[in-house]
């Protein structure tokens, strides 16, 4: 565990640039005549929160969940469905969204964590797809077409309204910083030590007297809730939810963002989400066949830059 606050390493400079950009884009983008980038960055940050949450279990805990986007969907649908029924108070919406993610991740985790390796990947995928198909078949809530949200979560106070786009943007920004901070605290706590140790050598952790299951399950739930918060933010940001948010390609993209940025590094998922989404944004304006460039690029990064962008930018000597 190397310190993250080494300001001279190129990986951290990139992090500072990305986070710095996120902080100033609402002012910078309109000034440069590109106001469109405000929503692009808001989306990137939501994905970054989800990627940070996945990194918690995948990067630090060795649990490769291929169904992590389902919590984006649950968080978002909780907002969408409640709004549909006229419940717009954030004080009800948000606890329900978080509670739903906690319960579902507890159930899904309890089932999937009894398996390892490929089986774990397949079970997390299967469980997530179950909810995806449930949302597709929910005609009342728009099925495939999704569900429009007429009003963003209402906090019932005059000085804080998500209807104000600036407030919405910086709320997401604050949650992004909070998710990284919480990860940082968790990873270095006693809980985090057990999680990392279980990734490294689970048999040995058992042999010093720790039953790993409970800890892995707790981590799984924490990550599920954190991703659910990204989902409820996304629903508010887009004023829209659809089954596509939790379809398996989204889970795959989350894995890619984490790997791309650098697994088990604190800010890796943030830069990963940034590079992934910016590249697809830029490439897609060049050509409609942008996937032909994007796919091989991702493969090359994974093949030649083990440790992702963070690994690529970290001098070999200090990589230990």
């Amino acid at each position: 565990m190397k310190d993250v606050i080494d300001l001279k390493s190129p990986a951290n400079i990139l992090t500072i640039i990305v986070v710095g950009l996120c902080a100033v884009v609402p002012f910078l983008a309109p000034a440069l005549g590109e106001p469109f980038y405000v929503i692009v960055f808001a989306r990137i940050m939501v994905w970054a929160i989800a990627a940070v949450s996945l990194n918690l279990i995948m990067g630090y805990g060795g649990m490769i969940s291929f169904g992590h986007a389902v919590y984006l969907g649950i968080g978002a649908y909780a907002i969408g469905i409640l709004a549909f029924h006229g419940v717009t108070s954030a004080w009800i919406q948000w606890p329900v969204a978080i509670g739903a993610c906690a319960v579902i991740s507890l159930i899904f985790g309890a089932i999937s964590l009894r398996t390892r390796g490929v089986y774990f990947i397949m079970i997390t995928l299967a469980l997530a797809q179950m909810l995806f198909f449930l949302s597709v078949s929910a005609e009342r809530y728009g099925s495939d077409d999704g569900l429009n949200i007429l009003a963003r979560s209402d906090f019932g106070v005059s000085f804080f309204s998500l209807e104000d786009n600036m407030t919405m943007y910086y709320t997401i920004f604050a949650f992004l910083l909070a998710s990284v901070f919480v990860s940082w605290k968790l990873v270095h706590s006693r809980f985090g030590v057990v999680m990392r140790a279980a990734k490294s050598n689970e048999t040995r952790v058992q042999a010093v007297g720790v039953s790993t299951y409970r800890y892995r399950l707790t981590a799984f739930v924490i990550a599920g809730v954190m991703c659910g918060i990204a989902g409820l933010l996304q629903a508010n940001l887009e004023r829209f939810v659809s089954p596509d948010m939790m379809n398996w390609p989204r889970s795959g993209e989350l894995i890619f963002m984490v790997v791309l940025g650098g697994m088990s590094t604190l800010f890796g998922p943030v830069t990963g989400a940034f590079v992934f989404l910016m590249l697809s944004e830029i490439l897609s304006t060049w050509t409609i066949h942008w996937h032909i460039i994007f796919g091989p690029f991702l493969v090359l990064i994974v093949l030649f830059a083990r440790g992702g962008i963070a690994g690529l930018l970290t001098p070999r000597a200090s990589r230990e």
Partner: protein
């Protein structure tokens, strides 16, 4: 106890007893079922039949972690450490495990003196005091074997199951380990799996000879040395270089 893998009986009606404070050695040729025995006693494997009593309690149904919490620790024949952690962090995890649950989410564990101090002290004792901040994966083989024992000791056990602690060690390193285990003698009850004969005869109070999962003899080092069936089945092999 009995344990089979398919058609192969790795532990065959084996009965063993260790008295508090003694070193009970188990020797036997490769494939005799020594490691299987350690797995059974530590809870990594469940016996097909038989029971395990520890300090008057039946622990046959207890999980591996639960047995450690009762004071039954083990080491591994194939070094099992946290290679990405530093030496100190390896031992700190055991200390942490011994202090109860780890559902503590906020305070940094690395700076916790209640973990560092006991871990440091133990590492000094096993002779790794100068190597605490080295990554475990970068240690020399002999040092990794010492760390392996240190991790087990740090759980605060009363009973140690040591699966070939001298495995892969040179002569000098083995001697260091023998001296170290001698120093521990009396403080811990030990089941010592080993086929370095010098080590076994130097350390053990009692020896059980295991062949094809069966105990063919149990006795003091002298009795074992002079036992005809043991000489035929095992010690004789060793003299002709038959065991590994």
């Amino acid at each position: 106890m009995r344990k089979s893998f398919g058609g192969l009986t790795a532990t065959d009606n084996l009965s063993l007893e260790a008295t508090r404070g003694e070193i009970h050695a188990v020797i036997g040729p490769n494939g005799a079922g020594k490691t299987t025995l350690v797995h059974l006693l530590s809870g990594l494997l469940k016996p097909d039949a038989g029971e395990i009593m520890f300090e008057g309690r039946d622990i046959t149904r207890l999980s591996a972690p639960a047995r450690v919490n009762q004071g039954l620790a083990r080491s591994f024949q194939i070094t099992s450490i946290f290679r990405e952690f530093t030496v100190l962090e390896n031992v700190m995890l055991s200390v942490q495990a011994g202090q109860g649950h780890s559902f503590r989410f906020w305070r940094p564990a690395a700076k916790d003196e209640s973990l560092r101090a006991p871990a440091r002290e133990l590492l000094e004792r096993v002779g790794l005091g100068g190597r605490m901040d080295v990554k475990a994966g970068n240690l020399a083989h002999g040092e990794q074997r010492q760390l392996e024992i240190a991790i087990s000791l740090a759980t605060g056990p009363s009973f140690l199951l040591l699966d070939e602690p001298m495995a892969g060690m040179g002569l000098e390193e083995s001697q260091v380990m023998i001296d170290f285990l001698k120093a521990l003698k009396g403080d811990y009850t030990m089941l010592l799996i080993e086929h370095d004969m010098d080590a076994v005869f130097a350390l053990a109070d009692r020896i059980t000879v295991l062949v094809y999962g069966r105990a063919i003899a149990t006795g003091t080092p002298d009795e074992i040395r002079n036992d005809a069936s043991v000489r035929a089945a095992y010690l004789g092999d060793e003299a002709s270089g038959g065991t590994v």
